[in-house]
Assembly symmetry: C2
Homo-oligomer: 213 residues x 2
Amino acid sequence: MIRRLPRYYRQLSELQEAGVVRISSSALGRSMGLTASQIRQDLFCFGEFGQQGYGYKVDSLKEEISEILGIHRGHTLVVLGTGNLGRAIIQNFRFSSNGFRLLAAFDISPAVVGTRIAGVPVYHTDELEPFLAQHPVSVGMLTVPISAAQEMGDRLVQAGVRGIWNFTNYEITFDRDDVVVESVHFSDSLLALSYMITQREQPARQREEEETL
Amino acid sequence: MIRRLPRYYRQLSELQEAGVVRISSSALGRSMGLTASQIRQDLFCFGEFGQQGYGYKVDSLKEEISEILGIHRGHTLVVLGTGNLGRAIIQNFRFSSNGFRLLAAFDISPAVVGTRIAGVPVYHTDELEPFLAQHPVSVGMLTVPISAAQEMGDRLVQAGVRGIWNFTNYEITFDRDDVVVESVHFSDSLLALSYMITQREQPARQREEEETL
């Protein structure tokens, strides 16, 4: 369910931009590949947004979901590592649409320290702790090499950061339960795709396994 | 379950590299944040790998999972779009460890067409169809701008590609059920993290919602 909320938010944003004022649960479901009853069940948990037969008001539903997702809470973020991936995300990702302010990036390369990427200042990693002492930061995004992942994560947490957005493909862990890690594992995604296309290529085996599962 | 298989594969690869020969379901579970009984349940579906009290043989379990994931099937891939994100993935992602051969990249920018990125040739997008007619391609990776997402996806499918690895943050769809789309939505991931840290910040509200859910 938590996994579906961001999708609802994204879908409702698109509907709002397209000028849609009201939408029925079945139309919303179709656009998201869910059944109307899944939609009603999901949204029921979060209060009464719809009225039977009248559909959902797009703007108020979006507003309520953005509240639950914490989009208006002024979350802040720093990026650790400005290699290709870090740079790509800094330049292209719409942090503000997702309720985040990107405050700064950190790197060790003299070629980037002191520059700006899409307006975001890049500091030396040595300046991380002094910076975090001055600026409350909700999330640290890790786009460092895998060998530096845990150490940089530990430094963030030590300095008070409680959310880690992990792109390092390393299964980073912390010995405390007030830290939240969200990992984007590209390989897990590609392997899931590999599994699905392999199943399509083997229709007989697919049927057999579906019967077993 | 399909979502967990790639994690098992990743974990088993790490164990193998660390020289671990056998592992109990409880130790495997601990390292993955799952219970021993979840592990046994997951792996039971795919045949009898373990023996009660003896644990799992790391190499044969990994081998069996890699078979199911289609890692040895010689899947091939092309990349559409060599902006920062496309370039970052071409340069850093270990396609071969995941059973994929990256054959070529396509772009429209004269600055990159005709060059190589990490050894991978970059062709003009006009050459996509002739290339696909010559080379069987399992997966097309989309790192094009959102405005080009559906069109490039359609061209891939038209030319026989059946797997789409979508990074465009656009909900790409196809009117046929033999095409598989796997999307990496950065914003969904960040919003899930936003939700989790928001809940931590509001312990009272969290408890209340947990009771409702």
